[in-house]
């Protein structure tokens, strides 16, 4: 199970799309660290300069809308960002984030309660979000059971390996 994550909150608005998370011109990069240097560049060119490893992106509704580019969550993870908290996520981004192991938390209360710069502590296993600056605790929406089992299995790759092994028996 993932360890605790903690860092400062960087707060953004609604509909943060994949074009601003990682602009198209960088989509020919596959190295996570290289991609990470351009995370959120289209939205906040200062992001990678002002953030520190462990920091958390907090956003309103429909985070990650737009293209299916898996390099979007990879860039966020590659930048050292530990997680994204949003009121809701776009469908493909949600799936991609789980597949590549970027922790995501869905919580209206957390997004409303957190101010830019707050110190946040997260427990991916339980969905607990602690705002140390404000002394508040929020609970993220639970993952549907099937997804929980995928996460617990370590993601989609181990799941596929299990299926392959079964079919070869």
């Amino acid at each position: 199970m993932e360890a605790r994550l903690s860092g400062k909150a960087h707060k953004y608005g609604k509909n943060v799309d994949t074009d601003v998370i990682i602009p198209g011109k960088y989509c020919n990069i596959i190295d996570p660290v290289e991609l990470g240097k351009h995370a959120l560049e289209g939205l906040d060119p200062e992001y990678t300069r002002k953030m520190k490893t462990g920091d958390v992106i907090v956003a309103e509704t429909n985070f990650g809308c737009g293209s299916s580019r898996e390099v979007a969550p990879i860039a966020i993870k590659g930048s050292g960002t530990s997680a994204v908290i949003a009121k809701s996520f776009a469908r493909i981004f949600y799936r991609n984030a789980l597949n590549i192991g970027l922790p995501i938390f869905e919580s209206e209360a957390a997004v409303d309660g957190i101010t830019d710069g707050d110190e946040i502590e997260l427990e991916p296993a339980t969905g607990k979000i602690v705002n140390r600056t404000k002394g508040q605790t929020y609970q993220a929406a639970e993952f549907p059971p099937f997804m929980r089992s995928l996460i617990d299995a370590g993601g989609l790759v181990p799941y596929v390996e299990k299926r392959l092994a079964e079919s070869k028996k």
């Binding site: 799309d17 020919n28 596959i30 509704t61 898996e70 469908r91 790759v157 392959l164």
Partner: protein
């Protein structure tokens, strides 16, 4: 209780009698698609899966080089080569390099790789385009695509469906693109998240296959998982011309359950424009044109509007005229076949004579990749599907989305222009 069109296709591919919205299913896929960007990541993931050395079926995978090709730089060439080498190694039947393909979503239907009732997943969000043919098609990220390459199946959550009903006859210079822009404007960019869109009504029955492609293509712009039309005689004729394989034509049940029904009066619709910086910031052309918005670039192309029908509309408007001196017009035919047909019909000559540059088929400027990237402070009107900040280049540029006719009219005047003005002037 009956099932929607999407539910029927999903149930059959999951080997189930019926499915309900919210249910998680394991479904067999008929085709898995990737381009050089999504494939590069997917191939890397597949290499890391123990026991996965072969794809599940080399004839059910389509790999199309389209985003940064012909390679824009050495890094892009590396990704293109990575996919090509994989195609050779795995003996992939449907591999399309430049000169034989074009934009993935234009190529697959052309090549008969899409048929009604099929289930298609692709490493590109506009995979939903194939809903135009009555198929269930959805975009996914590279890890999901890697899993599909290997297993030939995917896990899916059955989406609830939204029924869109369009009635009325489209006026002059009003097209499928205008209908769909209006729709995205009504629903909002997250209005159909986790949902299926099912298109109905007399207006869409009348649409050509290309018109339906334009509409299904932009289902994702409302956040939808898929957008789907019922296959009719037009669809079946199109598909049978291109493939001999059997397919099933499904219909939604009369008592199918929809989460919402939205009716759109198409008869009174005027041309629409999505203003910066979201595809749902949609306004009627009369409002936008009244602001006298000058443009630096007009782009005609993409998987939304890069088809022969689209190029013909533009050529007809530009025929014998010159584009305005303040504007450059970039045309990307959607595929090699579209390019060839446009050449044979004289469409390319008409466009070039008017002052347009005709690029090689591919995505090109659509996503700010290459061949028409916008600079700081530049403004474009484009037939593409997205206008997020920086979509076509600089984060300080602006993109307006419109139909090929509106783009052509704007090319002539150098500012965003109502194409119906041309109609009145007898153009």
């Amino acid at each position: 209780m009956g099932m929607t069109l999407t539910e029927k296709i999903l149930a059959r591919h999951a080997g189930l009698e019926r499915v309900e919205p919210g249910q998680i299913i394991n479904a067999n896929v008929d085709l898995v698609l990737a381009n050089e960007l999504s494939a590069a990541v997917a191939i890397g993931v597949m290499r890391g899966i123990k026991g996965a050395d072969r794809v599940f079926d080399r004839s059910r995978i389509a790999l199309v080089e389209d985003h940064f090709v012909p390679a824009k730089d050495a890094q892009s060439a590396k990704l293109a080569k990575l996919m090509k080498d994989f195609a050779i190694e795995q003996e992939i039947v449907h591999f399309f390099d430049v000169g034989r393909g074009g934009i993935e979503h234009v190529v697959l239907p052309e090549e008969g790789l899409v048929a009604p009732g099929e289930l298609i997943v692709g490493g590109d969000s506009h995979t939903c385009t194939y809903g135009a043919f009555g198929a269930f098609a959805t975009g996914m990220g590279s890890t999901d695509i890697a899993a599909a390459f290997v297993l030939g199946e995917v896990w899916l959550k059955v989406p609830a469906s939204i029924k869109l009903v369009y009635n009325g006859k489209l006026g002059p210079m009003v097209y499928a693109k205008d209908l769909m822009l209006r729709t995205v404007g009504e629903l909002g960019i997250d209005g159909a998240t986790y949902r299926a869109i099912e298109y109905h009504g007399t207006t869409v029955d009348e649409l050509s296959i290309t018109g339906r492609i334009t509409m299904a293509n932009m289902a994702i712009e409302a956040g939808a998982k898929n957008g789907i039309f019922h296959a009719d005689a037009k669809t079946i004729a199109f598909v049978k011309e291109r493939t001999n394989r059997d397919f099933a034509v499904d219909r939604a049940d009369h008592d199918a359950v929809y989460e919402r029904v939205v009716t759109i009066d198409a008869g009174s619709l005027e041309p629409q424009v999505a203003c910066p910086h979201t595809p749902d910031n949609v306004h009627p052309i009369s409002e936008v044109a009244a602001d006298n918005v000058s443009v630096d670039q007009v782009f005609v192309g993409s998987c939304t509007n890069g088809y022969i029908e689209d190029l013909r509309i533009v050529a007809k408007i530009l025929d014998g005229k010159k584009i305005a001196s303040n504007v450059r017009v970039i045309v990307n035919p959607g595929s090699q076949k579209v390019w060839m047909q446009a050449a044979q019909e004289g469409v390319l000559t008409t466009l070039a004579a008017a002052g347009c540059v005709v690029n090689t088929p591919g995505c090109g400027a659509c996503f700010g990749g290459h061949m028409g990237t916008l600079g700081d402070g530049e403004r474009a009107i484009s037939t593409t599907n997205r206008n997020y900040v920086g979509r076509m280049g600089s984060p300080k540029s602006e993109v307006f989305l419109a139909s090929p006719a509106t783009c052509a009219a704007s090319a002539l005047s150098g500012r965003i222009t109502d194409p119906r003005v041309l109609e009145l002037a007898g153009v």
